[in-house]
């Protein structure tokens, strides 16, 4: 019943969005080529699915996303666990991190394109940067917040590094790390599109630029909704994974 109800919320919510769009289309004085109706966008979507461009774009984007986000999370968590365990070293690293953190990942874009050229790499680098700092800093703070009693117990039972890291530190810090990984997924997906708009010749971000160049607003809007939909799906999947790990580690149901 609960599931059915939540499906109802989703359908009604999206129907309202489409209705507003349709209404705006009806009253607007713009040419339909510049401001298409929901139905025109749907037709464009079907067209993209049929000629295979959508699948190719999603494939290119997902490839970059998985590599950029995956590497970023793995390296950030790994470094975070180490830096969190070495507060004296972290004191030296932290100022640099705080300097780099507020820089928008897109600010690096021209530099990255100059360095690596157009292709997969710029988008991957942008995604990497966008996820890296929040996950790293959250991991460090999660390690610092671990209850001292776990270290006393480990000390008492002779658990030393490196076993201490994966037996105690990682699972103790995991709930907060998982939260950061989850949030970073959203921003990484946002910056993937930005990265592909500037630094790539394929993918969903590029498809938006391409549609603009061809004055195909219907394709453009259809692509935007596909991006939103995939973002939602990724968020749902990582939420599922997060819950599963937390449950396996004795967290809340």
């Amino acid at each position: 019943m609960k599931k059915l109800a939540s499906i109802r919320y989703v359908i009604v919510s999206i129907l309202i969005l489409i209705a507003i769009w349709q209404l705006a289309f009806t009253v607007s004085t713009y040419s339909p080529a510049l401001f298409p109706s929901p139905f025109m966008a749907l037709q464009a979507l079907v067209e993209m699915i049929q000629d295979g461009t959508l699948i190719a774009s999603i494939g290119a984007s997902m490839y970059r996303f998985v590599i950029g986000y995956g590497l970023s999370v793995i390296i950030a968590v790994f470094l975070g666990l180490i830096l969190g365990s070495l507060p004296k070293v972290f004191n030296y690293v932290n100022p640099t991190l705080q300097l780099l953190r507020p820089i928008s990942p897109t600010a690096w874009m021209p530099f990255v394109v100059l360095l690596f050229g157009i292709g997969n790499l710029p988008a991957i680098v942008i995604i990497f940067i966008s996820a890296f700092f929040p996950v790293l800093l959250s991991t460090v703070s999660a390690v610092n917040k671990i209850d001292d009693i776990y270290f006393r117990v480990s000390d008492n039972f002779g658990i030393k590094q490196p076993a201490l890291m994966w037996k105690v530190i990682l699972p103790a810090a995991f709930p907060q790390i998982a939260n950061a990984i989850h949030l970073a997924l959203g921003s990484a997906w946002i910056f993937l599109v930005a990265g592909e708009m500037v630094g790539a010749q394929s993918g969903l971000g590029y498809q938006i630029i391409d549609a603009r160049n061809n004055i195909r607003a219907d394709i453009l809007l259809a692509t935007i909704f596909v991006i939103g939909f995939i973002g939602l799906l990724l968020d749902f999947l990582i939420g599922l994974l997060e819950k599963r790990i937390l449950r396996a580690w004795g967290g809340e149901n």
Binding site: D155, N156, F157, I159, K160, A163, A172, G250
Partner: protein, 257 residues
């Protein structure tokens, strides 16, 4: 020399340049197999003394020796049981009990067998695959006791282990711990602020008073297990402790008169 030999042990902190003595001039000898209670109000340094013997926060005056060796760090031969259990919430009950064995016993099956044995001793073998959050406070503390016993330690340190439990559960666990002691013959140092608990459990009670934390007196409990909480002898020992703890108040009363 006795098994645990404490000579002039003291601990001072310095906070904002002000020196603060939390423990001063403690002399205490403990024999193997004794059940010692450190009893006193909060701030009397009983936990400080326990942590110093256990090696977590070392004393900075005098010396504390176990089996002739100066204490410098926590030892795997002596296990501490904490008031808030110290169970790892991401491990099942059985994996928690195995924790201490992982550094010692390499064979997985042997480890499991040992853990199950002690889990049975605390009557929690039916909960082997539960997570700590699914257990009550008393059950959690029994898991911690099983985990401590599983490594077959020489000394068990208990820092107000039943402090967070309700009175009835607490009495049950007191019986359990006496039972286990009788069978396992461990040296136990038990911190508490509950006078009855101390009289019920201890062979000797070290009564401590605050400002600075010192040993006021040591009372030998001439009762045998099991003890009747309402017997005359029990009350007599209790009265002795009241005397020791009240002395200071009587002095101040004299002043006010």
């Amino acid at each position: 020399m006795s098994y645990i030999h404490i000579e002039n042990a003291g601990k001072t902190f310095s906070e904002n340049g002000v020196e603060f003595t939390s423990l001063a001039n403690v002399n205490l000898d403990i024999e193997k197999g004794e059940f010692i209670c450190l009893l006193g109000p909060s701030g009397c340094g009983k936990s400080t003394l326990l942590n110093a013997i256990a090696g977590f926060d070392l004393a900075n005056h005098g010396s504390i020796k176990i089996d002739g060796k100066e204490v410098t760090a926590p030892s795997t031969k002596n296990v501490t049981i904490f008031q808030n259990y110290g169970l790892l919430p991401w491990r099942t009950v059985i994996k928690n009990v195995e924790l201490g064995l992982e550094a010692k016993v390499k064979d997985k099956a042997a480890r499991r067998e040992q853990a199950v044995k002690y889990l049975k001793m605390v009557k929690l073998d039916n909960f082997a695959n539960s997570f700590p959050r699914q257990l009550s406070g008393g059950m959690k503390q029994r898991v911690a006791i099983a985990r401590a016993l599983a490594v077959e330690p020489d000394i068990i340190f208990m820092d107000e282990p039943f402090g967070a439990l309700d009175a009835i559960t607490r009495m049950k666990l007191q019986d359990d711990i006496l039972d286990i002691c009788k069978n396992e013959k461990k040296t136990i140092i038990f911190v508490t602020h509950d006078i009855e608990e101390a009289v019920y459990l201890a062979d000797r009670i070290v009564v401590m008073t605050p400002n600075p934390g010192t040993v006021k007196g040591i009372i030998t409990v001439p009762l045998h297990h099991f003890r009747d909480r309402t017997s005359g002898d029990f009350l007599l020992v209790r009265d002795k402790i009241f005397d020791l703890l009240n002395m200071k108040i009587e002095e101040t009363i004299e002043y006010t008169i």
